[in-house]
Assembly symmetry: C2
Homo-oligomer: 458 residues x 2
Amino acid sequence: MNTRKDILLNAFTMNCVGHINHGLWTHPRDRSHEYTRLDYWIETARILEEGLFDAVFIADIIGVYDVYRNSIDLTARESIQLPVNDPTLLVPAMAAATRHLGFGVTVNVAVEHPYTFARRVSTLDHLTNGRVGWNVVTGYLDSAARAVGQAAMAEHDARYDRADDYLDLLYKLWETSWEDGAVRRDRAARLYADPGKIHPIRHDGPFYASQGYHLAEPSPQRTPVLYQAGTSGRGQRFAARHAECVFIMASDPESARKTSRQLREAVVAAGRRPDDIRILAGLTVVTGETDAVAADRLAEYLAYANPEAGLAHFASGSGIDFSRYGLDDAITYGPTNGIQSTTAAARQRRLTKRQLLDGLALGGRYPLIVGSGESVAAEMQRWVEEGEIDGFNLTRTVAPESWRDFIRWVVPALQERGLYKTAYREGTLRRRIFGEGDHLPERHRGRQLREAARIAAA
Amino acid sequence: MNTRKDILLNAFTMNCVGHINHGLWTHPRDRSHEYTRLDYWIETARILEEGLFDAVFIADIIGVYDVYRNSIDLTARESIQLPVNDPTLLVPAMAAATRHLGFGVTVNVAVEHPYTFARRVSTLDHLTNGRVGWNVVTGYLDSAARAVGQAAMAEHDARYDRADDYLDLLYKLWETSWEDGAVRRDRAARLYADPGKIHPIRHDGPFYASQGYHLAEPSPQRTPVLYQAGTSGRGQRFAARHAECVFIMASDPESARKTSRQLREAVVAAGRRPDDIRILAGLTVVTGETDAVAADRLAEYLAYANPEAGLAHFASGSGIDFSRYGLDDAITYGPTNGIQSTTAAARQRRLTKRQLLDGLALGGRYPLIVGSGESVAAEMQRWVEEGEIDGFNLTRTVAPESWRDFIRWVVPALQERGLYKTAYREGTLRRRIFGEGDHLPERHRGRQLREAARIAAA
């Protein structure tokens, strides 16, 4: 449905060493171990902005991958999302070094009370001048629950009920507490803000209660662009109600199309328009000047990748300790609670361990396109058209080399096909993604709560 | 006691418009309303680093000042710490623009579970290369309690009990979960980290429970430099146990000395050394080329300052709605729960409202020194020597002008007296403050918990 729209492109990364394609940190040119350094992130942001990426999408996880061999042994050795640092703190430094690049930041609703989280996000939206998106996740690791003093992770659907309540409270703070025009900054009248246009909100939800003023004045987008990943039934209802960008994981365009249609139907059922959401598929690309050069580069990367590390990662996503199986044992898995912040295989699958490892040759489970810029662009076009999606979350392989390669070879080929912008549009992240509007559209739940939430300041 | 040590100097500010000296946002040259812009903060950081400031100390408040006239009317009009944005998110951008400046960031222990907060701080310490301090506050506003769904703020001493527990859990994560040498980054051996040197912590405290690995690898300082403000009996015991820098508010050197001696005695009673803490007094300076120029500048500022706004701020600190009193009514106040993150008047005082307003001529309650660089330096020396303190938290008046003025006129005069460094030392914030050691000293509780906290990884 989107052939005449620009493909949306996010760089998918994480404030850690091994993110998706595990083992590649051992490649001599990989610099992902520099994740603790601001200059590494600033350079990354500048590269991505040169490539006109819409956003850098920063995953996160609370907890550790300890299902495989019932330990963190391989997790520590291959730095499989451990150590992992806070994602939000990368944004201000990357924002200062760029002007258009957006930031999709993953934050689990279990981390912080919505009252203070609302301010944290408003602050990011102010400092970036309206370039912030929030990837809403509810978590899935028992190790995370134990870390914050709970016996076990809440049941899957209950986590979404809680997230619904969390968002409703956020909407009240972001959308209703400060009216448009409340901030005057009138020195002569000694009137920074008009107290008559600032209202306390009240929320008495099933999980959260709050009474008070939003601490931050309205930011450019008020509510950040809402990202979500989750294609379970309950996750899809959540996305249909809240999400503006949905991140899916599909093995091929056909399964992408199936998910895309389901999502858009659910969005319409929630009173929104089918193109009120943008759908992005996870994708790994290895490219070069020619198909042959790209194939060589893949072969080189494969020598450093670790499929077993990918399996250890997937063990926590699926809850299956694959170390207990022989190579030719058939293993039934899925649907699961999700793989890090992404959607999991939504259907039951049955593969041998050998087949699973074959699919993890580059250390990750994302679909892989290998070829020249033109070959990759053609295949991406097929994904967009046949898969009925709007764009991609592009994983890193050897960082930052793989961003540079993609920009050098694939971006011009996409532009040649009229599929990719040749300059950034001006404005907030939301306006650039949807072509209009800095704020949530009127038909979004966040806007509809406006009247319900407002109570008299007196 | 510190005449031969360099005076420690923090720039005291906040991610908001009106911080301490209220009303000055209306001054034509004041730029504090640019607080939502990264370039304003980056410029501020560069100015402070030129002036060899040890750190920028960023206050914070959760909740609003609504005691005065039982409303936020004046709070909104004069932007008395409302709106107020998140302080932590300023640090990465300021850190990227500087190399030595430290960052003292105020975060209330009520905001976030210690497990994820530990990672947030470790991330800051990594990104700044060991330049982070944390100002531990427990909050005092009922409006904050209501905002996060509680009926009222917990009783004063109970808040410190809770903070003790919070810190003990943090120490386990920061100090014990990852051993020194756990991170190897050995590509050839495929060994990012040695799993045998990463341990889960276990904490079953009265307020917090946690079981798990710290998510972040050890940062340069592990535990950030711990700042605290609080001179109540319970607050002083808390400081004696945990704090490395204590921020006090004293009206004159004599009262500073009294507090300083009490604090150092309490520190010794807690098994530490008297110089294991550095004591900084809040201070406002208005300076210029000569005493006469400085006096003129003060007169100019006074025309924009708003003493009533200072009183509204103090109303929430003291719990007294001063609007209900006439100018010549005597008002008894204190001791209180503290004024924003600072210590309050520790003794009962009795002043008329007129006298209170006289003390708030510049819109704030901090001691004021007005004069040429040499006059100010002489008075600061008297404070340090007679007050037995180590340095100052310097408030802003007209920003960033007042930083520039201080650096232009006072810093050279302090250097002339041998009281102020002429170049930064290298190393972490802790090393630069104490002259040695990147980590907490062995005699600090955070280090002593190491053995108690470690449990076998098996």
